[in-house]
Subunit: 142 residues, 2 copies
Amino acid sequence: MKRPTAKLISGRQKFRKGNVYDVNCPSRAVLEHVTSRWGSLVLLVLLEGTQRFSELVRGIGGVSEKMLAQSLKALEADGLVARRVYPTVPPKVEYSLTKMGSEVAVHLRTLTDWVEDSISEVMRNRSRVEANKSAKPQPMQA
Amino acid sequence: MKRPTAKLISGRQKFRKGNVYDVNCPSRAVLEHVTSRWGSLVLLVLLEGTQRFSELVRGIGGVSEKMLAQSLKALEADGLVARRVYPTVPPKVEYSLTKMGSEVAVHLRTLTDWVEDSISEVMRNRSRVEANKSAKPQPMQA
DNA sequence: CGGTATCCAGCGCGATACTG
DNA sequence: CAGTATCGCGCTGGATACCG
């Protein structure tokens, strides 16, 4: 289950249900799978081709096997990733994108490309902000 | 227009620095801001126009004020969101997308649109998977 | 190799209260 | 209205150990 525990803040939304702005909409859940920390990177790496589990671990800096397995399961359940097991003596499992998976992954790649292209401008912004912070030590008092 | 040069990732690991596969790359951090649970929704909502804080709270189902403020601060620091304060007696603060922010938001919207369009197919997959699960009860306990 | 199960530290995030 | 500060619970997710 997702979040039956949380007290919902949602009440009057001017946005219609059935889209990502609605907490309970399934689209929101899928969006979160796709944009999740590891889910997004998995899709991006698989865009380069079929990969084995250990290749994914090495390809994605910083993932633990646990989180990778977890992300793969979610994406597989969503029908975005295909899992193929070879019944060989040393187990071999390959992951690849499904048709649907390729579609999202392409959109994700576009987004990522934008980020990588814009990173210098973003970083320039960040330094400027931090400079202001230290330059203005809170003139809060009267 | 996006990537004139090859940021080619040809299957072999030894993940090159400078792209999102590198844990320490700044691009990764920005990507995470943009794709984060609330960050992404903030950008999407702001794509519809300038909004006040409380409007954002109401527009995004399930967000707490704390997380919203936090997300807005991160996005502002990245230079994706502009914050405008009106020195009126009842405080009034408006948030809007910067030029950069609009660019990401558009990519994000593309991704979201895909999800909303494909949600039925995804859900069909999920039910199929769950059906298989209950059909093959694993020996968890006795 | 490719998982899965368990433990547990950390912090994400919600609730509440206070400021301007 | 638009935050900020503080507290604390619970889930996230890393480390470890163990099966097929």
